[in-house]
Each structure stands twice: as C-alpha cells, then as structure tokens.
C-alpha cells in the first residue's frame, strides 16, 4: 500500500474544504495519470463514429493516445496508439478507414486486431522469437447503449458496477428515444486550466449558470416586437429561475443535476419536438425522466448536458485541458430537429459558443490565481447544501439532495478522487465504498424524513 496520499491534506470532504494545490501541482498531476486515468472507465468512442469494419478513430485516456478500431466481426477494440518498436505514434489521422496500420518510422505493420503482421527485413534481421507475440497494448472495453468506454486496469470493477445508480441518470441523457444517438458535430479546443474544472462543473454545478451565462440567456431567446420574450422562451427563463430540482452523487465520483421542469432550451424547434414526444419518453423512461436532466459527469471526464452535448476533457498538464465535444442527436429525431441541435450547440457550447466562452474565461482566471502561494493555501468553500443528502428519495435512485444547486456531488467526486489517489487497489476501494454507503444509509434512516429541507 502506498505510504502517502498526495492529495489527502488538501481535500476535506466532511467539512467541504478544498485547497487549490490539487489544480496546480505537477506532482499531483503526474500521479493522476497513473492513479485516476489508468484505472478508470473513460469514454473512447461512440459506435456510430466507427460505422464499418476497418473504421478507426483516435482518442485519449489521460495523455495516452488510444486507437479505437471496428473489427471485421463488428466488435470494437481499443489499443495504445504506440508502435512496440520505438514507441512512435502508430496512427496519425484523427479518423478514417484502414486495412492495417503501418508505423511511419520503420514500417512495422499491425492488423486491425493490433497484431504485428509485417516487419521490413524482419526475417533477415530479427530472430523469430524476438518478434513473437508482438502486439499493440489492448485495453478493456465495454459498450453501453452505443457508448464505448475503455479501462486499462484489469482489477477495476465492471462498467456496470462502476456506473451503479448513475445508469438511471445516464439513460435520461442517452436513451430517451429508441434507436440510440448519432453524432451531428464535433469540436476540439484547449483551455488554460486544470482538467478537474470541467469535471467538477458538470458533476455538481448548475449554480454557475445564471451568473456565468446571463448574457447568453439575455440575447439568445427570441423576443416579440414589443421586446417581451416569446411565450415558449419565457418558459425557459422560468425553468432557470425556479430552482426546484435535485442532484445525484455516486460513490464512484459521478454526479448529475436537474431542474424539475427540464433544461432551458434555446431553440424553438427542439423545444416543440420535446413537448410533442413527452408522452413517448414517459412511456419509455417513466414520468420522472420526461424532462431531460441538466448536467452530468461520468467520472473521470465524460460530461453531458441535457441539450445533447457530450464531451471528454483530456488532461494536458496541470494548467491545460483539451476538450473534445460531440453534439449528438437522437437517431429518432426528425432531420430538422437534428439540424437544430447541431446549430444550437455550435452556437452555445463549442469554442465559439456563447455560453462556453464565458466558462473559459472564468476557469482561466481561476487557474492563474492559483500561481499564488497564499491562493493555494486558501481552504475554498465547497459547503453548499451540506448534510442534506438522502438515499432513494422519492423516485431518485442512490444518494440525492433535493435542490438543483448543491455541492454534494462535488464533495463526493473529490471523495472518490482522494480514494483513487491513495493508490489503494480497486478491490479495497470497492470494499471501502460499500461500507461507507451502508453507514450513510443507516445514518439517513436515523434522521427523521421531516428533518430534510425540501
């Protein structure tokens, strides 16, 4: 067991205090690559990104480049995108189709299954045993309703166990309609800040929206000639103003939040289609998931919003993140709604998006302040809605708080993060989590339900 947990002294989940050192330290960052990214289930592809045998795409798990490949039998496998000879990046295109992958350094050639099939001058210059069994390093993969996740750690829990109650929330984003999801737009950009900012926020922070994004809500919703908001648009503002809702958090670091009345929609045709199909969604998911949830994050770095934004946030050193964002539409949506989703999201949540830009500046400044010694010593306040979480409240599975603005999911995310950063092996972590959930559930039962702030 590792002697030192490098983040424990900076994170106090019970009191809701965190020091910014965890966003700044190079030592912590290097350990995150090992203890968080190399042991977690990370989104690496959606099956529609790999339409046929030989389709490939690149992605990353932490800083490690991943090559995801559709196999001749239709299955999807994922490899470290690194030639076994000199460690060269094997595939250098973002996506495409291939019969095999030849390294551009010495010409070593691998088939779609990652097996070395040709080495120039191999017969004359290598003994057969020195090339035997050479193949690309392969990771565990799982396919959940078309979303492909990979994990390097053979001892990590199954994806289903890792998701736990989060699956119920995840489905509200990806399984509202039969037929699954498809990609209608892709955006990639970098931000000068720590990757955890874009984990914390989709996990736990609907609170920032009305301040950070007030300018976008001011101008993007259509108005009548007299300057008042159109009726349907006024409803979107009401959603944002009425903070009834809740927040879910998971022992494995996932989080989700919702407004009871749904997520504010900026484009009328998307809203109208949603209203038109409410009955179908109710039948499919039940009455409590008719309205899309606002935000969620599947730990470590797979973010989603109820407006069909999905993204991974790749770490790029302690002071930089790289966002890969996909706009996805339900396959079942009519073409004009898919087009509306594409345009809505590039105008709101891409690098040029009118909501996204403002997050960028806030995070950049947050990061730059942490250059300061005193700034990193501050015990920042993550205390919103403490000690109000309950299990299986109303219809909501798992641990929730009954308010859309809460930092409970952030605290639980950092709890999980701290546990991972301890370096304890997965089987021990799973045991610790199970025991904690039992204790928390018991504590909840001992608290009178009417003591809960509703």
């Amino acid at each position: 067991m590792p002697a030192i947990n490098p983040v424990a002294s900076y994170i106090d989940v019970q009191s809701g205090r965190i020091s910014g050192e965890i966003f700044h330290s190079r030592e912590i960052y290097e350990l995150e690559l090992e203890r968080v990214f190399a042991r977690s289930w990370v989104f690496i592809a959606h099956e529609t990104m790999l339409p046929k045998p030989g389709s490939f795409m690149q992605n990353y798990v932490g800083e490690d480049p991943i090559l995801v490949v559709r196999q001749p039998d239709g299955s999807i496998r994922a490899f470290l995108n690194q030639c076994q000879h000199r460690g060269m990046r094997l595939c250098r295109a973002d996506l495409g189709e291939a019969k095999n992958f030849m390294c551009s350094f010495h010409g070593w050639n691998y088939n779609l299954a990652g097996k070395l099939i040709n080495v120039p001058h191999g017969d004359a210059t290598f003994a057969p045993e020195d090339l035997a069994d050479v193949k690309l390093r392969e990771m565990r993969v799982t396919n959940y309703k078309g979303f492909i996740f990979g994990n390097w750690d053979e001892t990590a829990p199954s994806f289903e166990e890792y998701m736990g109650d989060f699956a119920w929330y995840f489905d509200c984003f990806i399984d509202r309609y039969p037929g699954g999801m498809e990609v209608v737009g892709t955006h990639k950009w970098v931000l000068p800040c720590n990757w955890k900012f874009n984990v914390e926020q989709p996990t736990s922070d609907a609170y920032h929206a009305e301040t950070s994004h007030m300018s976008a809500f001011d101008v993007m919703l259509p108005r009548n000639p007299d300057g008042t908001l159109q009726d349907w648009a006024a409803k979107q503002v009401e959603i944002l103003g009425d903070v009834k809702g809740g927040q879910f958090s998971s022992p494995f670091g996932h989080g989700a939040g919702w407004f009871d009345d749904g997520i504010p929609v900026l484009t009328r045709s998307i809203f109208d289609w949603k209203v038109r199909t409410d009955g179908d969604v109710a039948e499919r998911l039940g009455p409590n998931r008719v309205n899309p949830f606002a935000h969620a994050n599947l730990f470590p770095n797979f973010m989603m919003l109820g407006n069909y934004t999905f993204r991974v946030t790749h770490p790029r050193g302690p002071n930089e993140m790289e966002i890969w964002s996909w706009s996805m539409a339900p396959v079942a949506a009519p073409p004009e709604v898919k087009e509306a989703i594409r345009v809505d999201l590039l105008r709101s949540f891409s690098g040029a998006g009118m909501l996204e830009q403002d997050d960028a500046v806030n995070w950049e400044e947050e990061q730059s302040v942490l250059r300061g010694f005193m700034a990193r010593k501050e015990r920042l306040n993550y205390r919103q809605f403490r000690n109000q979480a309950r299990y299986d409240r109303n219809c909501y599975p798992g641990k929730t708080v009954p308010h859309v603005y809460s930092e409970q999911a952030a605290r639980d995310m950092y709890q999980h993060y701290t546990e991972l950063m301890s370096g304890l092996p997965w089987p021990e972590l799973v045991k610790i989590k199970a025991e904690r959930v039992v204790q928390e559930r018991r504590a909840c039962e001992n608290t009178a339900a009417d003591g809960v702030k509703a």
Binding site: A93, D94, K188, G351, A352, E364
Partner: protein, 190 residues
C-alpha cells in the same frame, strides 16, 4: 494527390477573372475598413456591412489521411465553429453589449491583419458582386497576460451598394488553420 477534391479547389479562379485594379482597390479598402471596425469595438456599425441574407460559416477541420483529403474540411451541415445568419450574428453583438459577456468583459484587444487579398469578378457574372479571397491573422490580448493568435483564410462574396462602406457581405466562409482550436475560445468576429 487528390488536391482537386480538396475544399479549396472550388475556390480556385483563373487569373483572367481577377477584378480590375480599381475594383480590387475598392474591395481591399472595404476589408481593411471592416477590420478597423472590429478592432475598434464598433460592432453595431459592423452589422451594417452585412446583407440581411448573410451567411457566415466556418467549417471545422480534421487530421485526415491523404486519401481522404476531401473530408479534411467538414462539409455544410456538419461540424462548424460558426453557422450563422444575420439574426444570429446580431445576437452575438447584442451579447457583447450586455457587458456581462465575461469572455469579452473586460474587453480584449484585437488586431485583424488582412493579407493576400485577391478580388475576382463573380463567377456567375453578376457585375456588382465580387469574390474576395484573403488570409487573416487575428491577434488578441486579454486580461493581464493572455495573448493568442488565429490564422486562416476567408472567402467572401461581396455586393457593391450605395452605403458608406460601398459593399455588403453576402457570404463569408472562414477557414481556420487549426484542427484542434488551440486558443481558449473564438469570442471575436473573424
């Protein structure tokens, strides 16, 4: 190389279709004046340069194998940084005017450098319409220490009119020279 299938090949114009020196001069001065409006934060004035039917589009790009070169730039209806009509651009300007658009409040300092300008007569033989092809470098400094640059190519369809600036922008295609956008946001007008 399948360079003929690349996105830019459809914008290749014969030298014989270059506009006259006088027309080229007028269009070039229009582009410089526009850059000055943008860098002087006169966005409401900038809106007057746009046709009510303007289309402002900036496709995304990907790293593609040479055999897939024609897919390197995303086609219309797919990944884009901007895909705007007049009303959408008006919203972007109105957002800055709220003083609560934190990406540009406090405002950044920008400089639009416009170069390699080539002005062609319209391929559809509309005598009052020109195709202006240029390269740009947009430098931005914001806050105390943040600075970045984006480069790219811009292809405009411009119509002569009687307004102060002499032209209206009918179409603008902005192609950034980046696949992954290596700046924190695209909060300016390009």
């Amino acid at each position: 190389m399948k360079t003929d299938s690349h996105f830019f090949s459809k914008y290749r114009r014969p030298q014989s279709s270059l506009a006259s020196a006088a027309d080229s001069y007028a269009v070039t001065q229009f582009l410089f004046a526009e850059a000055d409006l943008l860098d002087s934060w006169r966005f409401a004035d900038w809106l007057t340069l746009l046709s009510p039917d303007v289309r402002y589009w900036s496709p995304a790009r990907e790293n593609r194998l040479m055999k897939d070169l024609e897919k390197e730039i995303s086609p219309p209806g797919t990944s884009a940084h901007f895909d705007e009509d007049f009303d959408m651009l008006r919203q972007r300007v109105a957002r800055i005017d709220t003083n609560k658009a934190w990406a540009e409040s406090p405002p950044s300092r920008s400089r639009h450098l416009i170069s390699n300008v080539r002005v062609f007569n319209h391929s559809g033989e509309r005598p009052d319409v020109y195709e202006a092809d240029c390269c740009f470098h947009v430098y931005r400094s914001s806050g105390e220490r943040s600075q970045d640059s984006v480069f790219g190519r811009r292809i405009d369809l411009l119509q002569r009119d009687s307004s102060e600036y002499g032209f209206k922008i009918l179409e603008r295609t902005v192609v950034f020279d980046m696949a992954t956008i290596l700046v924190k946001n695209l909060s300016l007008i390009y």
